[in-house]
Symmetry: C2
Subunit: 121 residues, 2 copies
Amino acid sequence: MEFDPQSLTYNDAGLIPVIAQDAQSREVLMMAWMNAESLARTLESGQVTYWSRSRQEFWVKGATSGHVQELVELRFDCDRDCLLLQVNQTGPACHTGRRSCFYSKVEDGEVRETQEPMTGE
Amino acid sequence: MEFDPQSLTYNDAGLIPVIAQDAQSREVLMMAWMNAESLARTLESGQVTYWSRSRQEFWVKGATSGHVQELVELRFDCDRDCLLLQVNQTGPACHTGRRSCFYSKVEDGEVRETQEPMTGE
């Protein structure tokens, strides 16, 4: 069956949540949002392109930082309201310079940071 | 620093998106939503408890099906507006009987199903 980005379920703002996972290590790198057009651009270019809710514009991941995400695989869930991408991530995915945005862990009721910012990227 | 579920950023409906990942295989199993109280219940019980948007009630994952999720690790992201759980999943995570909700893959513009429903669970 041919895939149509319009066939997915978007929220009231026209957005769908997107999980990006490292295609090799399987580490979950980040969660962001797409609209149908950013998904179409991602599929066409192979460069992961989100929709920035704060800036209200297309966000080609890494366009300014060089920390691009190359699309390896696209999946959607049973409700068609969430995407899962396997990506090749160059350098850090997180704006703090860490590999993953999920560097804060709750352990015994305390918050611990588990990653340092990457250097030399 | 002590962790306070209220310190996270919830959307206008008081909810935060939650990614559940298999603690062993690192497969992403599903995405669902929590409010602060369902997160507190999850931490207290060790049984992953979402907020059902359709039923508007607490949803102890697997309470009726037996396909429970035991919490192994809780992380939150740099913006404090998304959670990542490592879980021990009993049986399928998906209501269709598949291990993961992300069984639909887009390949060469076509949709392909990659998993069969589990049997004998």
